[in-house]
C-alpha cells in the first residue's frame, strides 16, 4: 500500500477519534448542559429543549449506540444542529458564513509565513553567524508572544492611537454588501492586511529557527561538502543539495505545528473582530452555545487533517525515497 494511502488511513482514524471524543464529551461532563443553555435563553421553546437534549444526549433518548449512529449520520450530512445563541440559525449556516473568511486569511498568511520563514532559515543556516543570526534573540521574543497580544499592540500602534493607517476591526467597511465587486474586495483586502501581518510576523520566526537548525545539521553532511568540492555554484549547493534535504523535516514540522498555528490565529481574530471562525467561537463560548462550539472543533480538526494530507502529498513529491521505500 503506498505511503499516501496509509497516511489517509491514519487521518481517518484521527478523524474518527475526534468525532468520537466530540460525541462522548458532553455525555461525560458533569452538570446539565441543556439546563445551562435554557437558563441563559429563557425564550426557547420546549421543542428546542428536546432537540438540544437529543443532540447533547442529556435525556438519553434511545441507546448510546443509536445516538452514536445518528450523530455520525448528522455529521456526514453537515447537520450540526441549531445554534442557541443565534437561534434559530442552523450551525452549518453560521459555519458556511465564517469559514471562507478564516480560510482566506489564516490559510494564506500561514502559507506565506511558512515559505518566507523557510527561505530566511535557509540563508541563516547557510551563513551561520551572519547578520540573520543577529536577529535570533529578537525572533525568539516575537515567537514567544501570543498572537492576540501582538494583534493588540499592532492595532494600538497602527490603527487606534498612534497612527491611523489601518482599519480598526471587522472584515470589511461597514455598509458594504459582500459580493464580488471591486469596492468590497478592496475593502476586505485592506481589512485583512493587519491580521495577516500579525500571523506572518509571529509564526515566521518559528519556521525560520527550525529551518536554520536543520540546515546547520544538513550542511555538515558529506554530500554537501562533495557538492562544494566539485565546484558547483553556491546557489545550487544551497538549494539542490542542502535545502532540499532539510526541507523534509521542515515539512513534517509544519504538519505537526499546524494545529497550534491555526488555533493561535483563530484566537487572534477576536482582537480584530474579524468575521471568521474565531470570533464565532468566542460568541459560542460566552453564551454556552455547545452545538456551535463542538461543530467549530470538528471543522478546525478536519481542516488541520486535510492540510496534513496535503503536506504528505508534498513530501511524496519531494522525496523519491518515500515513493519507493517500504516502511522501515
Amino acid at each position: 500500500m503506498p505511503f499516501i494511502l496509509r497516511r489517509l488511513a491514519f487521518y481517518i482514524v484521527a478523524a474518527w477519534a475526534a468525532l468520537t471524543a466530540n460525541f462522548f464529551l458532553p455525555r461525560l461532563m458533569p452538570g446539565n448542559a441543556v439546563e445551562a443553555i435554557m437558563s441563559k435563553f429563557p425564550n426557547l421553546t420546549p421543542a428546542t429543549y428536546h432537540a438540544l437534549e437529543a443532540m447533547l444526549g442529556v435525556g438519553h433518548p434511545g441507546s448510546l449506540w443509536s445516538q452514536y449512529g445518528s450523530y455520525l449520520n448528522d455529521v456526514v450530512h453537515f447537520n450540526f444542529g441549531i445554534s442557541v445563541s443565534d437561534y434559530p440559525a442552523p450551525v452549518s449556516t453560521l459555519l458556511a458564513q465564517t469559514i471562507p473568511w478564516t480560510l482566506a486569511l489564516v490559510g494564506s498568511a500561514t502559507v506565506i509565513a511558512f515559505f518566507v520563514g523557510t527561505l530566511f532559515g535557509i540563508f541563516a543556516g547557510w551563513r551561520n553567524g551572519g547578520w540573520l543570526d543577529r536577529l535570533l534573540p529578537g525572533l525568539m521574543f516575537v515567537q514567544a508572544m501570543p498572537y492576540f497580544f501582538l494583534a493588540l499592540v499592532l492595532l494600538w500602534l497602527l490603527a487606534v492611537h498612534v497612527l491611523h493607517i489601518f482599519p480598526i476591526a471587522q472584515g470589511y467597511a461597514g455598509g458594504l454588501v459582500p459580493g464580488w465587486d471591486w469596492t468590497f474586495i478592496s475593502s476586505a483586502i485592506g481589512h485583512s492586511i493587519l491580521p495577516a501581518f500579525t500571523i506572518v510576523i509571529t509564526s515566521l520566526a518559528g519556521w525560520m529557527l527550525q529551518m536554520r537548525n536543520v540546515m546547520i545539521t544538513t550542511i555538515g553532511e558529506d554530500y554537501v561538502l562533495a557538492g562544494q568540492a566539485k565546484g558547483l555554484p553556491s546557489r545550487r549547493v544551497i538549494f539542490n543539495y542542502a535545502a532540499r534535504n532539510a526541507f523534509l523535516p521542515q515539512l513534517q514540522g509544519f504538519g505537526l505545528a499546524l494545529g497550534f498555528v491555526v488555533s493561535g490565529a483563530i484566537v487572534m481574530e477576536i482582537v480584530f473582530s474579524y468575521p471568521g471562525i474565531g470570533l464565532l467561537l468566542l460568541g459560542a463560548v460566552q453564551s454556552n452555545d455547545y452545538p456551535l462550539m463542538q461543530a467549530i472543533f470538528l471543522v478546525i480538526t478536519f481542516a488541520v487533517l486535510i492540510a496534513n494530507l496535503i503536506v504528505d502529498l508534498v513530501i511524496v513529491a519531494f522525496d523519491p525515497r518515500v515513493r519507493t521505500r517500504e516502511a522501515a
Binding site: F141, M145, D222, G259, I270, N288, D319, A327
Partner: protein, 360 residues
C-alpha cells in the same frame, strides 16, 4: 567524514566537574540570559504578591481613579474600575507561572511514562502508544481544550491544569521514546539485564537517569506550552475570570475596551510579561541544546582558520550491534502508518528542543 584539519574543539559543552561558578561561566550566553530572566520572573512570582502595593481586585469607588495613566501612585496605571495594574500583574505572574510549572510536571511525568514504556516494551505496545500519541498530536489542542473547558465549571484552576496536562504529553513522549530506543541497546543496559535486574528497575535506575537532560528540556517546553495555552484560554474567558492570571488581565482589558480607550498600560504589561517569560524559556532551552550540539552554537564563538569559520562535521556515528528484534506483521503494519517510518528523522535531535508551539 574525517577532515585532515585538526579542529580546535571548544570543550565548554562538556560538563566541568570543577566548582559551580566555573560551570556557570562556561554556559552559552543564551542559556545564561534565559536563566537570569527566568529567575527574575520566579522572584516576582514568590515575593510579588507580598510587595504588591494594592489588592489586585480592589475596585476603587472613586471615579477619578478609573483608567489612570501610569503615575507615582500607580506605577502601571489603573483599570476601568480603578484596580491597580501593577498589583494585578504581580499576582498574574505568580498564578500563570504556578500553572505552567504544575502542568509541566504532570505532563512531563506522563511523557516519560508513555515514552519509556513504549520504547522499553517495544513491539505492538510501542506502535499502539505511538499511534495514540500521533493522533493526539494531529488533533489541534486548543479547540479541544476550549470545548473541554466549556463544559467544566469555571471555578478553580484544577480543571485547567488537568486538561492542559492531559493534552500536553504526546510531543515529549515521542522524543523520550526515541531517546530510550537508543539507550535501550547500549551495553550498560544489556549488562544490567544480564545481572538479572528487573525491567522496572532497569527503567528507573538505568534508563531514566540517562535521559535527565532530555526530560528537563521537555519540561521547559511543556511549561512554555502551558503558559501559552492557558493565557489564550484565559483571554477567551474560559478560565476563572475572578482570579488574576496574565491571561485574565488581558481578558478584562479586551472586554472593557482598553484598546479603544487607549489604555495601553492595561494590556501591554501582561502581554510583555508572557512574551518575556516565553523568551526566557526558549533561550534557556536553546542554550541547553547548544551544550549538546556544538554546531548550533553561535558561529562567532567558533574557531577560525585563515579568516574562515570552520563548520564542524557530523560526529562519526557510534555503531551498536542491534539487538535481534522480533517484528510481528501486525507491528510492522501499524508502524507503516506513521510518517516517520518513511522519513529519516534528521531533525529529531534539533526539534526536541524547539519551543513547542503552544504559545501561539
Amino acid at each position: 567524514m574525517t577532515a585532515a584539519l585538526t579542529i580546535p574543539t571548544d570543550t565548554s559543552g562538556l560538563a566541568a566537574p570543577a566548582h559551580q561558578l566555573g560551570r556557570w561561566r562556561r554556559l552559552p550566553p543564551k542559556a545564561k540570559a534565559g536563566a537570569i530572566l527566568l529567575a527574575l520572573f520566579v522572584l516576582a512570582a514568590i515575593i510579588g504578591p507580598m510587595v504588591a502595593p494594592y489588592d489586585p481586585s480592589f475596585q476603587s469607588p472613586n471615579p477619578a481613579l478609573s483608567m489612570n495613566a501610569p503615575s507615582a501612585a500607580h506605577l502601571l496605571g489603573t483599570t476601568q474600575s480603578g484596580q491597580d495594574v501593577l498589583s494585578q500583574l504581580l499576582s498574574g505572574i505568580r498564578l500563570t507561572l504556578e500553572l505552567g510549572v504544575l502542568v509541566g510536571l504532570i505532563a512531563t511525568a506522563l511523557s516519560v511514562l508513555v515514552g519509556v514504556t513504549a520504547a522499553y516494551l517495544g513491539g505492538l505496545w510501542d506502535e499502539l502508544l505511538m499511534l495514540v500519541s500521533n493522533v493526539f498530536l494531529v488533533i489541534p489542542a486548543l479547540p479541544l481544550l476550549i470545548i473541554l473547558l466549556g463544559y467544566l465549571p469555571r471555578t478553580g484552576q484544577t480543571a485547567t491544569i488537568l486538561v492542559l496536562a492531559a493534552l500536553g504529553w504526546p510531543w515529549g513522549a515521542r522524543v523520550i521514546r526515541a531517546q530510550t530506543l537508543s539507550i535501550r541497546n547500549r551495553d550498560f543496559v544489556a549488562a544490567a539485564r544480564e545481572t538479572g535486574e528487573s525491567g522496572w528497575r532497569i527503567i528507573a535506575f538505568e534508563i531514566v537517569p540517562n535521559e535527565v537532560s532530555l526530560i528537563a528540556a521537555n519540561f521547559v517546553n511543556t511549561v512554555l506550552y502551558a503558559i501559552g495555552a492557558s493565557v489564550a484560554l484565559a483571554f477567551i474567558g474560559l478560565t476563572n475570570t475572578s482570579t488574576w492570571s496574565l491571561g485574565t488581565i488581558m481578558y478584562w482589558a479586551e472586554s472593557q475596551e482598553a484598546l479603544q480607550l487607549g489604555a495601553w498600560w492595561w494590556f501591554v504589561p501582561p502581554g510583555l510579561a508572557v512574551a518575556l517569560m516565553g523568551t526566557s524559556l526558549v533561550l534557556l532551552n536553546s542554550g541547553i541544546d547548544e551544550l549538546g550540539n556544538p554546531r548550533l552554537r553561535d558561529a562567532n564563538q567558533r574557531a577560525k582558520v585563515d579568516g574562515r569559520r570552520l563548520q564542524p562535521t557530523a560526529p562519526t556515528p557510534v555503531q551498536h550491534a542491534a539487538l535481534p528484534q522480533r517484528t510481528s506483521p501486525l507491528t510492522a503494519f501499524l508502524r507503516s502508518f506513521s510518517r516517520s517510518a518513511y522519513i529519516e528523522d534528521r531533525a529529531r535531535r534539533v526539534r526536541s528542543t524547539q519551543p513547542s508551539e503552544g504559545q501561539r
